[in-house]
Subunit: 347 residues, 2 copies
DNA sequence: TTGAAAGCGCTACCAG
DNA sequence: CTGGTAGCGCTTTCAA
């Protein structure tokens, strides 16, 4: 197994120095934008760089103790909208801050060696790392910001507020019998583990939002109007069936995820309900499908790209020795589309 | 702008050597699995590594000329299903081949410095790089495989065959008036550039498939049944409107992309056509929404994950000095769902 | 089978 | 302002 040489740019800093007739050190200074170089010299060096086609060798730089201006993103599953939206925002921010950004996928069994990117990058952005299998701290760069994950500096979305927005919309429309399809009942909790920490939990927060909205509106919370799903379309269908085939079905459904909401819409239609005339449905997430489906789904938008941006900004601040302040939960926004309308028979 | 030290694992190879009472060289040999180390010695070293918690420094290794077992993926837009599916497959393959895989997003204006990952990785996988702005070859690692992009070793999908599958399905159903919504008319070609190379072009290939299928079936090709879109849902709507509001509208539509197909379905419905009873619609891509929409879209599936896998396998072969054979176009598969049915009035 | 020497290309540190 | 001197942690090459 002989390997072909990787002949990328054999031009070194020394070559440039020779070409410019200065010392390597001066070239280094120019490259790193130190302001202790006479303009004339700087120009000479710049020309030499241009002429030789020199490119820094980041490894050598890193080895020698320089900064890498590299941020790595660690995330499982890139093909889910969630992570890729955040990454998109992060990439934009990195671009403007003149940092490079690479993404590493955490494949299931943690065989892959994070050490390379870990050591090479000045900071890491964790997106939705699985609740279990957290990494030892030594396996990550010094600076870490996480989006929807554990850690010192987690960025979260205002799930509670989002739920209240959704409910308020339904309430304003005049609905009084509002069903709820929740996310995982015991998200991430092992049955035997006695509920480890008072951990933030999307599903619970949205659930609370539902409950509180009802109460604030002076409405009765009815268990028969609450179902649990697992965020899949299929589970949304089942939950909707349970909710809508009761004698006195709800006239609106708040669903804790867009996929489930779509399932709910389809099930409702199969059951002979028109959406939104007979039953209104609100989702949560604002995935691409929400806008593309029909009726287009009214849902709660999460500022994922924005969160990616902020995460990178915080990271860079951290890397450069500042102390960014920890932002509160990111506000959600209700996107009203076609799946909601006033109830046909006003209460 | 003082920077905190990045104190990752200060244990070096020398430390391990000292701990084991051997020379650094021997430790290096053990780590790299050379078979010129006596088992006893090897064990000693292994224990020392364990005890000290040593991890190799990939940068130093790379600097000194070692291999990185790192593959980087270069792609624009990770939040489009296309790229992320390919990446998913690539990640899986990399995992089993014991390579690391990182993704770099090519943001619009190519400010970002590819040199880091380029020099660090042994090979690169290009996914759908924009037709313009191709990189200088020196900006990429020695070994490159591309998926749906230019380059020496491009992996392509059998667009022509896929189109024929879709058409055959419609033909078998008994349709004789079949409309076509094509992709970009002059994909990627600048108006002033005189059609640069005889470049492979998805839209054209699918178009050819449509034409040939019609002819082979002894059917007349009618210009009024052909429209062009730009792969957006909106353009699909417009194209469908043009097609379906004619006096003698087609009873089936083959649409060259799922987004456009969705648009076509919705427009058809708005125009009073039932899908599939009044008009059948077939898409191309098999995006997640295809299965989630209603009626679920019959469409042509592309083996994107599989292509990612193969790409990485080829890359690794290349990196390790072998010469993988160039696979032909990847076969597509027609996924029949709910948006197609026989025409109501058989020809 | 093992180890000493010599860098890889760069940056810190301190001298000129 | 500029440049020498030392490494960073590893892997080559070649002796022992």
């Amino acid at each position: 197994m002989t390997l072909p040489p990787q002949d990328t740019s054999p031009i070194t800093l020394d070559d440039v120095a020779k070409h410019a007739g200065v010392s390597p050190m001066t070239v280094s200074n120019v490259i790193n934008g130190k302001n202790n170089v006479r303009p004339t010299t700087r120009d000479k060096v710049l020309k030499a760089i241009e002429a030789t086609g020199y490119r820094v060798n980041p490894m050598a730089r890193a080895l020698a103790g320089g900064r890498s201006r590299l941020i790595s993103v660690f995330t499982p599953q890139l093909n889910k909208p969630y992570a890729s939206e955040v990454v998109q925002g992060a990439a934009r921010a990195a671009e403007t801050l003149n940092y490079d950004l690479v993404v590493m996928m955490l494949v299931e069994n943690n065989t892959s060696d994070l050490s390379l990117m870990t050591r090479l990058s000045s900071g890491a952005l964790l997106i939705q790392p699985s609740r279990e299998g957290r990494w030892k701290h030594t396996d990550l760069p010094a600076q870490v910001v996480s989006v929807d994950g554990p850690g010192d500096r987690p960025l979260t979305v205002d799930n509670y507020g989002g739920a209240r927005q959704a409910m308020q919309h339904l309430l304003n429309l005049g609905h009084t019998r509002i069903g709820f399809i929740s996310g995982l009942k015991d998200e991430g909790r092992q049955p035997d583990q006695p509920s480890p920490a008072p951990e933030r939990n999307d599903a619970d927060e949205r659930h609370r939002g539902y409950l509180d909205s009802l109460q604030d509106a002076g409405l009765l919370v009815q268990e028969k109007y609450i179902q649990h799903g697992d965020y899949t379309k299929r589970s949304g269908e089942e939950a909707a069936r349970a909710l809508l085939s009761q004698p006195h079905p709800p006239t609106a459904l708040f669903v804790s995820g867009d996929q489930m909401a779509l399932g709910a819409i389809h099930m409702a239609q199969d059951l002979g309900f028109r959406v939104p005339q007979d039953v209104s449905i609100v989702g949560f997430d604002d995935l691409p499908i929400a806008a593309a489906s029909r009726p287009a789904l009214t849902t709660v938008h999460q500022p994922l790209q924005r969160m990616g941006e902020v995460a990178v900004q915080m990271l860079v601040a951290l890397i450069e020795g500042h102390t960014p302040e920890q932002p509160g939960p990111f506000p959600t926004e209700l996107v009203v589309r076609e799946s909601t309308a006033p109830p046909q028979t006003p209460a």
